[in-house]
Symmetry: C2
Subunit: 724 residues, 2 copies
């Protein structure tokens, strides 16, 4: 949990050049500082693990108490190490770590993994030590993982720089999936579970307190790592959300899916803000927006992750979302279809040619539509299965094929496996299997399929979910890449949320206008009878009190709507002034704003939250009930393109209200809405150092072709800034 670290530190890290991952993941030598001769202690476990795993470089235990540990020469101090040494594992009391880092730097060691606890997580004294650690690292030119972490495993170079249960798992073989965990215990438990399922990993890092190297930095490094094919993150929070987005984009550009499990979804949002938008926005809302914008796949269970890994392990490119299924049980086909469709895939109809061919080879009681059910007939004649497999795979409407074999055992399973492996060799379309035979009953079949790199999951709903999720991701990735989120060299945001200054409505609308956001036709009502401006308005109008001291005007009687004439306006304003005086006697009144009423608009709220982690982020919801009761709100980190704005609109549960119209209401001008969202996002980005929060409420969305119009606006700026 990194919430307490000062923000500036995260930004600095984000701006550093990528580190030399080769020296970290494939070090020429490893020092173990605080080495213990008792190999079951924290200072001994990494030594045992490195030896067991077959690490080929030199291991250099460092501890003045010993001259030898586990047959290795033990050094009094780091300076005594001879030969190349790129990495130090540090397991000494916290207070001694900073000077140990300094010694590492002097000895030419470029990376340190600090396993020791007792830093930030242990209170004020620990925080001070962590700050000293960071200063020592910067000074010495040493990059640090941790402190308070469980270490790092790099299976390809046999680096098992870890303690705990995972230090015993030294037989794990190399794979192409790399992982970063903000909880070592949980992360390495995921690794253990997945390894037992035959999934193989490359670099796995428990990141600890992130005093120096951060999660986004590691993701960026893994994106560049040629041996990494996919990246998994267990994430509780980052300090610089834009650095995370940028790193994930890098991975995407390199064709590497990033799977993320966000822990702490249910944490309560606790903003204290004037705007509706800020009050309704939880931290997790912003993470989800960021994941979408960066094309990251969100997962929420170990099984889901393991299934994605399994399908990715085939090494085939991710296929499209047009899926077919070939089942030997009707139920399996039904369940597959439910899951695949729920995860965004399609089960298209086969061509007439395919159907005709299927009818020719399958028995009359088989179902030839997609999903195909060849039934238990497979027990009678496997050749029909083989024929159907080839026919379905060849259908031009189909991107990928799921074969659902229930628990088919023995000789039949082997024949099916041979047919599948042969078909896969001859087709570019990926095949995924749902199959739950006990291994002992179908050993040869399993081996045949594993050699052919055909992914096998135990049940049809898991095949449907995993294959569909990856297909959807491929679309999301294509969308995300050209719609890169801009990062700042200074991190996400610098708006200081102290000394707020709320603009009055006149100034707020002027500011909107400057960014090309259409506002209502307004006039100022001058009390001295001289209301020429108001004579030129189209009635009916709405009158609103103007005061920076009154953020919610209607609460104090400061709004009167539907005034049909200048006379009614005059009368209304008199009553309004009396009410405001009664309800907010201390407020400084700047005047009364009179606006033409919009009568053909659907109400929306467009807001900006300037978040400490993600910087300026734009929110969109429809009026009142939709945001307040249904919480139907969508977010994107600013600034963004028109494509992203349209994606936001479509993401609203109520979007059909805008696009299709409803109950005799014509479709709304979503083109203009998208344009305005882009402008608000540009405005939020340009003003990121001064804008604290913004609400356009309501923004009226008029019928198609008639545009949108901001009828009211609340803007709070950093108090130290000059008025815009």
């Amino acid at each position: 949990m990194n919430a307490e670290l000062p923000l500036a530190q995260g930004w600095m890290n984000a701006a550093r050049t990528p580190f030399d991952a080769e020296a970290l993941f494939n070090p020429r030598g490893i020092a173990v500082i605080g080495a213990s001769a008792n190999l079951s202690r924290i200072g001994g476990q990494p030594i045992r693990a490195l030896l067991d795993a077959g690490y080929a470089g030199h291991i250099h235990p460092v501890n003045p108490k010993y001259t030898e540990i586990a047959g290795l020469r033990c050094h009094r101090q780091v300076a005594d190490i001879e030969g190349p040494c790129d990495l130090a594992i540090i397991a000494i009391p916290a207070a001694l770590v900073p000077e140990s880092i300094t010694a590492c730097g002097r000895a030419g060691i470029r990376f340190a993994i600090v396993l020791s606890g007792g830093f930030r997580e242990a209170g004020e004294a620990g925080k001070t030590i962590e700050a000293r650690l960071l200063a020592a690292a910067r000074e010495a030119g040493v990059r640090v993982i941790g402190p308070n972490c469980q270490g790092l495993i790099s299976t390809s170079s046999r680096v098992f720089a870890v303690f705990g249960a995972i230090s015993h798992e030294t037989r794990m073989q190399p794979g192409a999936i790399s992982m970063v965990f903000q909880s070592g215990g949980f992360g390495f438990a995921i690794m253990t579970l997945c390894d037992a399922l035959g999934i193989r990993f490359r670099h796995c890092v428990s990141i600890g307190n992130e005093a120096d190297i951060t999660t986004p930095e590691l993701v960026a490094a893994l994106a560049l790592d040629t041996g990494t094919r996919a990246i998994f993150l267990y994430l509780e929070g980052v300090r610089d959300g834009r650095a995370l987005i940028a790193a994930a984009h890098g991975a995407l550009a390199a064709g590497k899916p990033v799977i993320v499990w966000k822990g702490g979804k249910t944490e309560a949002g606790n903003r204290a803000a004037a705007s509706h938008t800020a009050n309704m926005t939880g931290q997790y809302d912003l993470y989800r927006a960021a994941f979408r914008q960066a094309g990251m796949i969100e997962a929420r269970s170990v099984d889901e992750i393991a299934d994605l890994f399994t399908v990715l392990s085939s090494g085939r490119p991710i296929a499209g979302g047009n899926m077919a299924a070939l089942a030997i049980s009707g139920g399996a086909g039904v369940v597959f279809a439910d899951a695949a469709i729920a995860h965004g895939a399609r089960l298209p109809a086969f061509t007439d040619q395919t159907l005709e061919k299927l009818r020719a080879v399958l028995p009359a009681f088989a179902s030839t539509a997609n999903p195909v059910d060849i039934t238990a007939d497979i027990f009678n004649d496997i050749s029909r299965f083989t024929a159907a497999l080839e026919i379905v795979l060849a259908d031009p409407n189909i991107d990928q094929l799921a074969i659902l074999l229930a628990s088919l055992p023995g000789k039949l399973a082997l024949e099916a496996a041979n047919a599948i492996a042969t078909a896969q060799e001859q087709s570019a379309k990926p095949i995924v299997l749902a199959w739950s035979a006990r291994r002992a009953r179908a050993t040869e079949a399993y081996e045949r399929l594993e050699t052919a790199l055909i992914p096998i999951l135990p049940s049809p709903e898991r095949v449907g979910a995993a294959a569909a999720t990856l297909a959807r991701h491929a679309d999301a990735a294509r969308f995300a890449l050209p719609n890169l989120v801009r990062a700042s060299e200074h991190g996400a945001a610098r708006a200081i949320h102290r000394g707020r200054r709320t603009l009055n409505e006149i100034d707020a609308k002027r500011l909107l206008g400057r960014f090309g956001i259409p506002v209502t036709n307004d006039a100022i009502f001058a009390a001295a009878g001289d209301s020429a401006d108001c004579e030129n308005l189209s009635y009916p109008v709405v009158a609103k009190i103007v005061s920076a001291d009154i953020p919610h005007k209607s609460d104090v009687g400061g709004v009167i709507t539907n005034l049909p004439s200048l006379e009614a306006l005059r009368r209304g304003i008199g009553e309004m002034m009396a009410a405001v005086q009664r309800n907010a006697p201390a407020a400084h009144i700047d005047g009364v704003l009179v606006s033409e009423m919009v009568t053909d608009g659907t109400e929306a709220i467009v807001g900006v939250v300037n978040d400490a982690v993600f910087g300026p982020t734009v929110a969109l919801g429809l009026g009142g009930i939709f945001t307040e009761i249904l919480r139907d709100i969508t977010y994107r980190v600013a600034p963004f393109t028109i494509e992203v704005a349209h994606a936001m609109i479509i993401e609203l549960r109520a979007h059909k209200l805008l696009t299709d119209g409803a109950r005799g209401i014509a479709p709304r001008d979503t083109e203009a809405l998208a344009n305005t969202l882009v402008r608000v996002s540009e405005m939020a980005w340009r003003l990121r150092d001064s804008l604290v929060e913004l609400d356009i409420n309501p923004l009226f969305i008029r019928p198609a072709g008639k545009g949108v119009i901001a009828a009211d606006c609340l803007i709070t700026l950093n108090g130290e800034m000059a008025p815009p």
Copy 2:
């Protein structure tokens, strides 16, 4: 898939007395009709399986071709069997099955499992044979499972009356979970997967075409079976939804959770109906309502099912939803909390006393709040873990405890296991474990925990989800039991959906009034200037054309709202008549209905669908956008109690709009709404033989204390019924 069977048949079955399950699941002897000497053929597999499984009764192969099969005497015909025989397994061509059933009856065999295919699923000829089969069974007094099924396994009596992959799994040991599958291949694959996880089963039945014995009947039998502790159904559809609800209620009353996986969720609804309600209702909506009303747990993956089974296998009563977690990894605690809360559990704060005690035993960097994170400190001193475990378990705010051990291996794991087993012996509160150590690294610890019947799942989110789901179920069960759904001895519904007759608005409102449902104050406008009735109305009023030929009045200009006076009414009606004449020249006009307008009401739609499977079912949604765009609709099978009506209201996503008020709108009269829902449900039930569909649209829900009022109503009745 049972969609094609005539409805009447399902109803008859529902009305039959429960069958003698003992003879089915624990038969004294088993005949195998169509026995094959080749034990790998369908007629041979059950013989091999029964022998391998150690079935203790007599096996009687029947086939005139042989005198002996697998060392058993083979009979020429069923009549030749000597000694008691309760069950026949039939694997002969479809056309021969009916007479074989007759022979079984003569021989005193009471149950037949028909494995053969070639019946309803194979087209028209097969349907005829299936009808003959049923007639033969009724005549002979034989109850039949199948045809076209994979058979039945009863582990307690070693009955493996099955073919296919599952016929090899004869070492499966008895447990307390029974299952019914509407897909044998998929169902037995679930059984295989779960058995590999250590879950044990009792009676598992592939139900096939359900020509005779239906899924609800089996559920009813399993509810009465003392050895069954929980029931799982893989369901694609039933013919009599009320029989299913009644059977599930029976299980609930016996304290047995019913878990259901509904396959075919994404099937498109294709009603062609006049009412909004019917057009918006898919079959799955009604199943979900029924599951809720019967207190059934809906599952959608094998893992979810397996996890529920694992937790249920402890044999402890299901605990409440106040959960605590004790983790050795922060991430595990976070992930557990996310999942538990998402599934409806709570993580309450500990008492001050608990916190004080925890602080005394745990190190400073541990987190003592719920979820507790004792950190990797467990590697230093396990006694602190043990102490914390006892302290947390004793907290009075806590119903159950999850312990999250990551992959803790070896000696530490054994010490932890001992502590957990001891604590569980001394506490009535259930303990559930998330633990992913490889078995080989912690064999003794696993054995210790398994002996103590402590459920172990591999990851914390699965523990959170399963324990919370069961806790929520316990609440749902308490609610469902006193709110039993009424079943009819004649099944769900008999309204014939041919020969429809739509009532005009006057008659429809009269009918509502007769059932105590408040309607608007109305008058008939008499064209001849004599509009005395209209003079007594409170204006403004709305005028609506009355014609049974015009179901959607506003589409033809047949509605004018907001008429402020009698003069305006007269004028408006003139215009309306012209518009209607233009747009619907053929319609027979009964007159013009004039209703007082409701100005302080929130619009709702209350509708009734008279479904072929579930009978009359009531729908509730809020006006226009909420139902049409957001599909925020809730359903309950009629009739129901006021508690159920309140549950419907709360289930709407937008319910806060009614209960809390919003945007200056006062809370609505949900008490009156609930009352009206009950009355509509009573009306729907009373008229179930004539009511085809009903829409009250809008029903205005007025401010609290002011009631509700039906402003318009569409009712379609069976054409052959006399007007109500």
